[in-house]
Every structure is written in C-alpha cells, then in structure tokens.
C-alpha cells in the first residue's frame, strides 16, 4: 500500500477510536451543538424583538459555535491525542513499523476533516430545524465559509500537533490544552458578543486565529449590514486569510522542527 492508502486506513482507525471515546465525543464533537442549544434557550428572550430583526439567539451564536467547533475538533483533538500517543508509546510503536510517517499525519488530517465537517453539518441542521435559523443561500457566502473552514481546520490541526510537544506527560496535557482554549473561546467572541469585549482584550484576541475564524463565520451567517459592529467596520476577509494563513505556516514550521516520535531522551 502507498502512503496515502495507509493514511486513509489510519483515518478509519482513528475515527473508530474517536467515536469509541465518549469523553472526546462529548467535549469536542457534541459540545458546540449542546452549547448552541443551551445559549439559544437561555438567551432566547433577549432576542425577542418582533419583526425588527431576523436574527434570533441561535443565529446570533451560530458563527461562534461553528468557530469553536473548528478549534475543538482540530486543535484540541490533535493536541490531546498526539501528546497522549507520544506519552503512552503509540508513536514509538508506529515508528517501529515501516509505516511512512506522512501516513500518520494524513490519518490525523482525515480524522479532523471528517469529524469537523460532520460536526458542522449537525450544527447547522440543529440550528435550522430546532431554532429556524435562516441559512445563507448565495454561493458567495458558502465559498467564504469553505475557505475560512478549511484554513481554520488546517491551522488548528498543525498548531495542535505542534502544541502537543509542550506536554511532558499525558497527565498534564488535559489542563495544558483545555485551559488556553477555553480562555481563547471567551475572548474571541465565541460565547460573548464580540462587541461587548473591552478594546484591549479585542487586541489580544486579534493575535490568535480563533477570533478571525469567528469573524469569518459571522460574515457567513450574519446579515451583511452587521459588519458595522466589527472592529474595522467590515468583515476584513483579506486580513482574516492572512492571519490564519500566517498561523498555519508558523504551525507547520513548529511541527517540522519540534515533532518527536518518543518522549524526550530518544530519537
């Protein structure tokens, strides 16, 4: 078998393991969907302003949850699983076989691509069916969605793999990964309205890719005139692509320079 076929085989194996691990399914796969449901029910009343606006609570929170989903299924899943696999010897065991190293990464990419797509499909189906959210109908918006989503998932995946090297044991990795992702979600406009954050916090958040993924998602799902509420008064698609793209490159370089198949002390 060639490297791609082995990579696909690993994707199938990774999917089996992913969905058999109930914690992962709950905290990364179902989490944004559950949060969307919760927020839409809890804050539903705040958006009940008659015909004045077509944006209900579910539509308001949908872009943030889509962005959070991208980060959870890519960055969080990768950082946790690669760190654990390095610590428990899975990576060393794979390295002991003639599996092409690229197949391991292809397997991970396949896992992330399929889980994040499935997650997003469920998220918008839930938003549409349970809360009647108006979904975009023009191709331009879906094209925007496609590149924001792809770039975001790719960026999260490589950053997750790079980040996994910070963990010295699988015991520490949980806190090391979940704490920063949680903070980032709060300051990047995922759970709070972006407009409610103080300026300095917006500046901090703007350094990281999640803010830009969320902004890109808002440009897909919000009415176009809502762009006046963004920092720059526009959706800033160019800058969004640039920031996420830059993080993607940084992540790739870090992966290439820091990735190890075993714990420290072995090659």
């Amino acid at each position: 078998m060639n490297a791609v076929a082995i990579g696909w085989d690993r994707t199938l194996l990774e999917l089996k393991m992913y969905f058999r691990e109930k914690e992962a399914v709950f905290f990364s796969f179902a989490f944004p969907i559950l949060m969307l449901g919760l927020f839409s029910v809890v804050f539903g009343g705040n958006f009940d302003r008659g015909a004045e606006t077509e944006v209900n609570a579910a539509r308001f929170f949908l872009p943030g949850m889509a962005a959070a989903g991208v980060m959870l299924t890519s960055f969080q899943t990768m950082a946790l699983s690669v760190a654990v696999e390095r610590d428990d010897g899975t990576l060393k065991r794979l390295r002991a076989t003639p599996m092409p190293p690229i197949s391991y990464f292809l397997g991970k990419i396949g896992l992330v691509a399929l889980t994040s797509l499935a997650q997003f499909a469920l998220l918008i189906a839930f938003a549409r069916l349970a809360f009647g959210v108006e979904l975009p109908t023009d191709a331009g918006r879906w094209a925007t969605f496609a590149w924001v989503f792809l770039l975001g998932v790719a960026c999260g995946t490589v950053l997750g793999i790079a980040y996994s090297s910070l963990a010295t044991s699988s015991r520490s990795v949980g806190a090391l990964v979940i704490a920063p992702t949680l903070v980032l979600q709060f300051i990047s406009g995922v759970y709070f309205a972006w407009g409610d954050l103080p300026d300095w916090l917006k500046q901090v958040a703007s350094v990281f890719p999640l803010k830009w993924i969320a902004q890109g998602m808002r440009s897909v799902f919000y009415p176009d005139d809502w762009k006046s509420m963004e920092m720059a008064g526009s959706w800033e698609h160019g800058r969004t692509a640039l920031v996420i793209g830059a993080w993607l490159v940084v992540g790739l370089v870090l992966c290439a320079r820091t990735f190890r198949w075993s714990k420290r002390g072995t090659t």
Binding site: K16, R20, A96, P98, M99
Partner: protein
C-alpha cells in the same frame, strides 16, 4: 556485504548519558536463525543497546550493522524486515486485537495472515474484544502478534513475559520456538533466567555497559566444566556431600559399593542463576541506576 552475514554485528558500541557511559565498548555478533538472550541487571545497558539496534537511539561511538544497515540511517525498507516488541505498548485500548493487527499488517510488504497470527498468539477468543479489556498476558501476546505480523527476519523482544503466569509463559515459549523454527533471528532481553535457558541458543550477560560473558546457557561462565556437587545418604541415613570434577566416576563407585541404588542421590551443577549472580555480583556494589534514571540523566543533559 555477503548475503549470509550476521543479522546483528556490533563493535565497540558506546553510548553516554552525561558523564556516565550506559554502554561502554560493547561487542556482539548474532548469527542468522539464532535466539540470543541479553541478560543483565537494571541499568546495565540492555535497553540502551537494544534501542540503538532498533534505530531508536543514536550511539556515540562504535560500528553497528543490523541486517546489513546502520540503524541510525536505515529507512522504511529496513523496518519492513524487522519486528519490535516494546516493553509495553498501550494506546490500543479502544480497538480490538483484530483491528490492531489488520491495520498494522497493511504497512508491511508481505504480512502474515491476520487470522493465522491471532491463532498463533492464542487470541482467537479475544480477537473482537476491546484491547482495554484484555489481561496483561493477553495484551503482551497481542504485542508479540504486532511484532511478527510483518514476517520479520529479525525480531526484538524486550522483556516479553513480565507479568505472565507460569502457563502463559510456557505457551509463549512455544510461540517463540515456532518462530525460531521458521528461521526468525530473535534478540530477547529478559530478567528470567529460566526463560533464557529454555529459549536461547546463546546468552550474553552485560553489566556496566560491558559484555561480561557470552556463551550457550549450558556453558556460560564455565558452568559445564565447573565442579558438580554429589550428595547421598549412607546406611545410617547421614548425608554426605562431595564436590568433584568427575561426578560420573563417583556415582559409579557409590553404586558399586552399595550393590545397586544409592539412597538420596543428587548430582547438581551451578544453575544458570547461580552463574549469572556470581558474574554480576562485582557490578552491583553501589547500585546501578535503572533505566528510568538513565533517561532522566539524558533529559537533564
């Protein structure tokens, strides 16, 4: 290099962690089809040596050839010809032995049949259970299954039967004998001297990073030629003990004197364990750091 060359050829291997030499000028040649057991106390350099041979560690000095290649630079084609059973492999808890073996088989050029391997390692009844639910011995047999699925010419077994019950260990030995009959060269590290005695054509004892003795289990450390101890009882039931280099003559004489059976007769030679313990005794003073400490030392560096 000639085709029939030794699968493993090591000359002057040296590996240091900080100021301490974990392996200090080790020489070793393992012949095709041989089962070789590497014995030694914790921290003796066993694991470091094996990891250098497996291509997991870089050496500081010495010549190493494994299946004709330098493990430090050998590629995937080389990995296709070796099998490695690590000390413990985890991370398979969520899949079944059959799934693990199937997916591993796919990366080899000419793998063994998955069902055959499942039967060979005695996991037929557990093939579709989650690995997380298997016993320690069953997991270990899966590890071996994963190590041999690629039909390796050379198999590394790192302490394969630690935690086995006696029956599981016997079954495992049968499995290894079968592999040997199939022509697989096997390098085994173990703490169990009976295991080395049952399985190995030759054993090497290392301590402080050096090879102290290297011979067949029967001859190690001059075992075969050393004096035997003969004990027997006389007519009054008193035990007699005599150390002799010609026990057969002594027993023949005793039998003639008694005109038949000699009551309570035993003839013993030093066991492999006796020989091993006397070999490593000079190196145990001061307590060698174990393998985990070696790792920490290198991390500190």
């Amino acid at each position: 290099m000639p085709a029939a060359d030794a699968p493993i050829r090591v000359t002057g291997l040296r590996k240091t962690y900080g100021a301490r030499a974990a392996v200090d000028g080790l020489d070793l040649v393992i012949e095709p089809g041989e089962v070789f057991a590497l014995l030694g106390p914790n921290g003796a350099g066993k694991t470091t040596t094996v990891e250098v041979l497996e291509g997991f560690r870089e050496r500081d000095a010495g010549e190493v050839s494994v299946l004709g290649e330098d493990p430090q630079t050998a590629g995937l084609a080389w990995r296709n010809r070796i099998g490695i059973v690590l000390q413990s492999s985890t991370g398979l808890d969520l899949i079944t032995p059959r799934e693990a073996l199937r997916s591993t088989a796919k990366v080899y050029r000419d793998p063994r049949d998955v069902e055959e391997v499942i039967a060979a390692v005695g996991l037929t009844e557990k093939a579709d259970d989650r690995v997380g639910k298997l016993s320690g011995g069953q997991r270990r047999r899966l590890d071996v299954g994963l190590g041999i699925i690629g039909r390796p010419e050379l198999l590394f077994l790192d302490e394969p039967t630690t935690g086995f019950d006696p029956q599981a260990r016997r079954d495992f030995w049968e499995l290894i004998r079968g592999l040997k009959q199939g022509g697989t060269t096997i390098l085994l590290t173990t703490h169990y001297l009976d295991e080395a005695e049952h399985l190995a054509d030759r054993v090497g004892v290392i301590a402080a990073g050096r090879m102290l003795a290297l011979d067949s289990p029967a001859n190690l450390g001059g075992r075969a030629s050393s004096q035997a101890t003969v004990t027997w009882e006389d007519e009054s039931g008193t035990r007699h003990t005599e150390r002799t280099s010609s026990p057969t003559q002594l027993v023949t004489r005793l039998a003639r004197d008694r005109g038949g059976e000699v009551p309570g007769l035993t003839v013993t030679r030093p066991s492999l364990e006796d020989t091993y313990l006397s070999l490593i005794a000079p190196h145990l003073a001061g307590g060698e750091p174990d393998h985990a400490t070696a790792r920490e030392l290198e991390d500190a560096k």
